[in-house]
Amino acid sequence: MTATLLFSTRTTGGFVFTTTTTTTTVVRRSLRKSSSSRRHSYGIQKVSRASASSTNTSSGECELVECEANFGEEGGGVKGAKINGKEISASAMRRLTLTNQFNEQVVLPQTENKKDVVVYLRHLG
């Protein structure tokens, strides 16, 4: 069985989630604190989308934060992320409508091979 896991680490600044695919049946670990590095990591196998009532708040203590992996159906699925309780998918992000400097509404530009880094800044000033 192929499961896609989310490995999350929280540095002192924010939360970062990276995904990887592995072959395992069940992986569910609780958030553990590494006192030396102040980094935390865990992985959660997708059981079902509704299986976890976890939330990720970008500001909570690590112990209170659960960042959910809900990615990867058997046979290879799409990997997403869950931020502040909201499931985020790359395909939804690719449909974002934004405004360019010429006041035109445009869809988020993307490279032909769909390798994109999207940085959300705060306000301009």
Binding site: T11, T12, G13, G14, F15, V16, F17, T18, T19, N56, T57, S58, S59, G60, E61, F71, V78, K79, G80, A81, K82, I83, N84, G85, K86, I88, S89, A90, S91, A92, M93, R94, L96, T97, L98, T99, N100, Q101, F102, N103, V106, L108, P109, Q110, T111, N113, K114, K115, D116, V117, V118, V119, Y120, L121, R122, H123, L124, G125
Partner: protein, 153 residues
């Protein structure tokens, strides 16, 4: 992060920046003040409801749990940068001139984050815990390299 664009491009990808602004005019002003920023890669969410930010799940500064002490990185401004900032902060602020303020404008409170997309996968996601708590640019490049490298193999 914009300084990492050449590395990202070398990996076959590109960067897009999104910000909050009620008007495109403020974006033009920003680009005028920051010519090093690639104008064709910067966009703004002009919606009053911050739809692009909501779509990414990012929160507000008011949601921050004050019991945590996330690391905030200083902007690394020179004296000239600070002057530019102070003299233009109002012109660039996310405040709609036609809107009556009854409290802090929400655009000021919006938090950002960073994603690395690989096709229809999200390979890396970061939510800023507080303003200035960005991911290390090198970590973003590494995530891109890991995701895209394996994808193109």
């Amino acid at each position: 992060m914009s300084s990492k664009r050449p590395e990202i491009q070398k990996l076959g990808g590109d960067i897009t920046f999104i910000s909050v602004s009620p008007t495109a005019e403020k974006l033009r002003k920003f680009l005028e003040l920051n010519p090093e920023v690639p104008a064709d890669r910067v966009f703004v969410d002009t919606s009053k409801t911050f739809e692009a930010y909501k779509a990414a799940g990012f929160g507000n500064l008011t949601d921050v749990d004050k019991s945590t002490k996330p690391e905030m990185k200083p902007p690394g401004f020179s004296l000239q940068d600070w002057w530019k900032y102070i003299t233009n902060v109002i012109a660039l602020s996310p405040i709609d001139p036609n809107e009556k303020l009854t409290g802090p404008p929400e655009g000021v409170l919006r938090l950002g984050g960073t994603f690395v997309l690989n096709g229809d996968d999200i390979a890396f996601a970061w939510a800023d815990a507080v303003p200035g708590a960005h991911p290390e640019p090198e970590d973003v490049v590494k995530a891109a390299r890991d995701a895209w490298g394996s994808a193109s193999a």
